[in-house]
């Protein structure tokens, strides 16, 4: 096992302009927001984003002008509705949107994870999901039925936010957590994997419960500590969404000029995630959204 503990800045600097990156979490929850904020600080651009259900992560990077193309089954903010930055740039044609359905997007990640040349799906028949670059009609060699092949989705690097890690990048989840994401599949499909976590714990603690490790160290290329790293979204089991901060975000995201100001006030000048948090929220709010470890 290799020691993989890094700073967020170091991890972000390994990502290059124009790369295809996978992002974990879903809608509002457990996106690696602290890491994405650092990517924006470092001025990354022309990225292609791949995810199962995009949300706050996509909206933020798209609004910051870092993205050329997105591929996913959804991009929205769950209870808060549409993703304003994505909607604006998609409608204007500046953003290349490749929508899939949940299972056909998963078929793409599964194909990449297994090293198969394409995935197979039955859900496309009769729909308008007819992306000529990524979806092709094929014939079942056994029955002659019409099926669809989907291109593998193989991120060059996948960015995830997790719960606990040791210094080697064994990522563990709590006993009760939310499974409504495909983080493990994304990691498996990706060339490289970078993870931020809420809490570092000792290796001795990790080895006592191997069943809690969902990303083994040899899948993980680098890990960084980022408490409240999914803020303003929630990290299930550890904290709820910061709805006040989300409202501020949303108000800014609806207008490109306001969003630029939001970035210039809260994100670009922040030295680190704690500094960002100090600009957009307060200890009292963090305490209010925090879920007690005892329950």
């Amino acid at each position: 096992m290799k020691e993989k503990l890094r700073t967020i800045e170091d991890l972000a600097s390994t990502i290059e302009d124009g790369m295809t990156i996978g992002i974990g979490g879903s809608t509002l929850r457990r996106h690696p927001m602290a890491l994405l904020r650092e990517l924006v600080r470092q001025g990354r651009k022309d990225l292609t984003l791949q995810a199962w259900l995009g949300g706050l992560d996509f909206d933020f990077l798209v609004g910051a002008g870092a993205v050329r193309r997105i591929e996913c089954a959804y991009v929205g903010l769950g209870p808060l509705g549409l993703s304003p930055n994505v909607r604006r740039l998609a409608d204007s044609g500046e953003l290349d949107v490749r929508f899939f359905t949940e299972s056909s997007m998963i078929a793409r990640f599964k194909a990449a994870a297994a090293g198969h040349p394409f995935g197979i799906t039955r859900v496309i028949a009769g729909t308008d999901y007819d992306d000529p670059e990524l979806i092709r009609e094929i014939t079942d060699p056994f029955t002659g039925a019409t099926l669809h092949a989907v291109a593998p989705a193989q991120p060059q690097v996948t960015l995830l936010h997790g719960y606990y890690s040791d210094e080697f990048g064994n990522i563990q989840r709590p006993t009760r957590y939310n499974r409504d994401d495909v983080d493990v599949l994304l990691a498996s499909a990706s060339d490289r994997v970078i993870v931020t976590v809420e809490q570092l714990i000792s290796h001795d603690e990790v080895v006592r419960r191997p069943h809690s490790t969902y990303l083994p160290h040899h899948w993980v290329d680098g890990v960084a500590l980022a408490p409240f790293g999914a803020h303003p979204g929630p990290c299930d089991a550890l904290y709820e969404p910061d709805f006040a901060a989300l409202d501020d975000y949303l108000a800014a995201a609806k207008d490109p000029e306001k969003f630029r100001q939001y970035l210039e006030t809260n994100v670009l000048p922040s030295k680190n995630n704690g500094d960002y948090l100090a600009r957009v929220t307060s200890p009292a709010t963090l305490a209010a959204i925090r879920i007690a470890d005892e329950v």
Binding site: E198, E205, S282, L286, D293, E294
Partner: protein, 302 residues
């Protein structure tokens, strides 16, 4: 779990909790060493300018240093007053040396036994290891006696007695049911004794949780609602001390505290900056800063 809608909430503010302590009262304070001290409550007591308090602890740490240094204390009953790796409680020392406070020393286990006796409704218990030590000489509350069964010489030791006890817990609901971490440690076991030992018990809590969150894990709840008079939310309420299962001690802040303890004047400046000129716990946390709070955070696996 159905909770009847008219069941009375005991949730209140730290200010309201502290205002239940009047001048001259005896206060039992939870925590051990630098761990789990109800510091948000202590800071509020200082802002309320209470005086002539008797403080009863098993051991005393930074909470007593602040209370004594701010001039609230007339008498202290304990086995230890210090700041562990950060050294002596300098304001306690100065106050004792100047004769400003009265101190009743007990052996450490005896100090725990005084709380256990209070929990058990006893007025006193006997100890057979005090003769030969100077403790009874300095502390006239220990009375020489003879064991009626064996005739052996003993001392009667008074059970701890307090008007109000205050304990800082990791999580509580609005009725005062309070949960401990899965890996509950000795200082928290001691807090359980404190909660059970006195007529009026107040809690501050790191987290206020829904009753339904507790009913899933009732074995974590060792403090039942009927023992508790009132509860208030005080996140990072043990800062600068440690809260086991939640955060470590803030070493840099302790350095500042110890340095300030050098004189009454410098300590007064510390109290001004961190207590008197700060409106409440939220404002105190703003002053300490998110970066520091996240740096000491140590959430336990759940």
């Amino acid at each position: 779990m159905t909770v009847h809608p008219t069941r009375q909430s005991k949730l209140t503010t730290v200010t309201d909790l502290a205002s239940r302590v009047s001048d001259g009262m005896t206060l039992a304070v939870g925590g051990f060493g630098v761990y789990g001290r109800p510091m948000a409550f202590v800071r509020e007591l200082i802002r309320l300018e209470r005086k002539d308090l008797t403080v009863v602890t098993t051991t005393s740490g930074q909470e007593t240093e602040l209370l004594v240094g701010a001039g609230l204390v007339r008498r202290l009953e304990t086995a230890y007053a210090g700041l562990e790796k950060w050294g002596l409680a300098r304001r306690v020392r100065a106050a004792v040396e100047a004769g400003e406070i009265e101190i009743a020393d007990y052996d450490e286990v005896m100090s725990f036994d005084r709380f256990r006796a209070a929990q058990d409704g006893l007025t006193s218990f006997s100890a057979n290891y005090m003769h030969g030590s100077s403790l009874p000489e300095q502390n006239p509350d220990m009375k020489p006696t003879t064991n009626p069964l064996t005739g052996a010489p003993e001392h009667a030791i008074p059970a701890a007695s307090a008007d109000i006890a205050i304990v800082h817990v990791p999580a509580a609901d609005r009725f005062g049911n309070a949960a401990m971490p899965a890996d509950q440690m000795m200082p928290q076991g001691l807090d359980l004794t404190t909660v059970r030992a006195f007529d009026r018990v107040l809690l501050t809590a790191e987290n206020i949780v829904d009753t339904n969150a507790l009913t899933r894990f009732p074995q974590r709840v060792q403090i039942p609602c009927f023992l508790i008079e009132a509860v208030a939310h005080a996140p990072w309420g043990a800062h600068p001390g440690a809260m086991l299962g939640s955060y470590d001690a803030d070493g840099e802040h302790f350095d500042e505290l110890v340095e300030a303890g050098a004189s009454a004047e410098t300590f007064d400046k510390y109290l001004g900056k961190y207590v008197r000129e700060v409106s409440d716990n939220d404002a105190y946390l703003d002053l300490v800063g998110i970066n520091t709070l996240l740096k000491i955070q140590r959430r336990s696996f759940k």
